[in-house]
Symmetry: none
DNA sequence: GATGAATGAGCATTCATTCAT
DNA sequence: CATGAATGAATGCTCATTCAT
């Protein structure tokens, strides 16, 4: 099922969905700043007014799209994490959910990379901060439950996320921008193993 | 010595330097798109005409700044790599040079992150591609010399750069955007060790 | 009793009244042009459609408000004039009714000043002209009855209204915009005396 | 000599003058809010950019025009006042300078009436307040010199300006909007006499 | 009658770029 | 070489008004 159908499932939200889809396409193709409201309007055949009615702003549209991606990614992560029993399972869940989400929603992933800076400096920066705070808290709880951090004594907590996800993110970026060819899912296991080793928890 | 004094060392280039410095400040503070030529003019007290005389247009200024950063970073990497004897030395050289450069030139590093997408889609995309090609070739040569890749048989070559530098890059991004506090140089060794372990070459 | 209750006394007109009151507030606070239908809707908690149902369009609302003020002011003037016996009484009636109305309905007076130009150039300009014509005729009749104009021989008729009401209007404007402090009713007698003297009819 | 030539006499300010003249015409013909920058641009055959270069804003243009009128009117008033010896002379100077200015610059006078409210609520409200303060102070000085206020003991000072100028202003407004036909200069003496009588200083 | 989503013409404003001086 | 006034296409956004439900 499509990401947007998950986020806006009702019938009445059809227009909203079609605006978002058109915006995603335009933003990814032309770049966020280079995309004009008129381009989006053309792409989904509505009126300028309708776009503003539903999203207030160009920045509101950018943010709505970004938060939709964030939530979808979060949902997959939680799903994977719920099945995890051990610390190693947890690391796998993070790496796999990250890679699978990017590989399945490359457009949304691409958008997420380019929109983050925009949202983080725009009028929705507070909402972003808050969502990040909540997400980090949830992750900490999960990892506390799993006893992660014990095996990797000595590693500063603020370093751990980079060790777990850094390589995957780096490869996914390279893939999305065409610098490497192979689909990241082909390296799921390698990247999860490498992340685990990098934690020195072997 | 300052990055710009290295790149534009002559006396006559003083104006060029002061424009670049002002532009860097503005771009980092306001964002590249949000910065107007007028803002830069104000910040370095020249005329619009002078800016256009030296850099042709805004994208020329963005690119000049980006390539200056790239070259400075390259120079440090080469310096570190020249002292490397073993594969492990090479990994350390990459990680250390990356971290040290970011930590010493945080403004340039910040700019590099935000400008890459702009340059990669602007009129200087070819020059960027070419520079990347040259850099990758150099790196490959160095690593071939050091016999890197032998100990890590089985790892796809296109994955290796992400394994080496991914975590460091991830942490540096987090540091530049204030999400973590500790200066990345504090974790130089930890990150290099983790990178080495992640390669499975222990 | 409230101006609007006088103009729209029935129970069924409650909504109409609440729209007018909200519009008056908004127009005075933000200015007529700066006030949007949406602001008015918010202020009286109806729907856009309801406003258009009752007043056809924004200019209809502006005019309805203006004519309501005009009628209320007219009613008071007639009331005062009906008690007048002499020319001097007539001048007093005009000055006092003007001042008392402004002092008792400052919001409506303020609105009247700012709306006149709008109505006089909008689609209701004819209605305004007609109402003015009728009012002037009535005044002329009253003054003819009282024999006004005899004592002040030599004064051009078109100058007389300005001599009678000019100073009061000037002071009331100053009071409404905060340039003077004292309530105009404090100067009722002084202004009426001055008007009388200015007619040279002493 | 034209009002604008007095305010912007240099050769280089030619464009500025032509913009102001075009704006005055448009504002008076269509109304300030109804006038678009494009209309003004057409009327003086420049570019939008030039208008913004010289006046920053539509509101800047409105204010520049308003202050130019104010200064021109002030200059005439000072000129007339300088020749005054007695209180009666002073009253005449105020009434005559007011009437003469309106009659000689009807477009500027009309504009002044409609622009005052806009400027008083716009971003230049402070400048307007300050200019008013200075003007009032000057007037007070002049009248103190002339011993005005002595003969009219008992009249509250804040009422005096309305008594002096109220009737003239009222008649001028009526003339500018076509409600009366006779040019106000025809009634200069009558209005000055009436003002003097209204002060009760006879 | 009431509602409010949808419409789209219209506007102020910006800003990279040029070029006469 | 330097200057900065002038250009004008392009854009985000507003808001009165309509009309299907």
């Amino acid at each position: 099922m499509d990401l947007l159908d998950r986020s806006y499932p009702s019938r009445r939200a059809e227009l909203k969905r079609s605006i978002l889809r058109a915006a995603l396409d335009c933003f990814n193709t032309q770049g966020i700043e280079a995309t004009t409201i008129e381009m989006i309007r053309l792409a989904c055949d509505t009126s300028v007014g309708a776009i503003y009615h539903h999203f207030t702003n160009k920045e509101g549209l950018v943010a709505a799209l970004f938060f939709a991606a964030m939530e979808d990614q979060s949902a997959l992560r939680l799903e994977y994490l719920e099945a995890a029993q051990t610390a190693r399972d947890g690391v796998n869940a993070l790496v796999f959910s990250y890679i699978d989400w990017v590989a399945n929603q490359p457009d949304w992933a691409r958008y997420q990379f380019s929109a983050r800076a925009v949202v983080a400096n725009g009028p929705h920066k507070e909402e972003l901060r808050e969502r990040n705070r909540v997400r980090n808290q949830q992750l900490q709880q999960y990892f506390a439950q799993l006893g992660v951090g014990e095996g990797m004594a000595g590693l500063p907590p603020e370093l751990v996320p980079s060790l777990i996800i850094g390589s995957s993110e780096s490869y996914c970026r390279a893939w999305l921008s065409g610098r490497v060819q192979q689909n990241p899912t082909a390296y799921r296991e390698l990247l999860a193993d490498a992340a685990w080793r990098s934690l020195g928890a072997g």
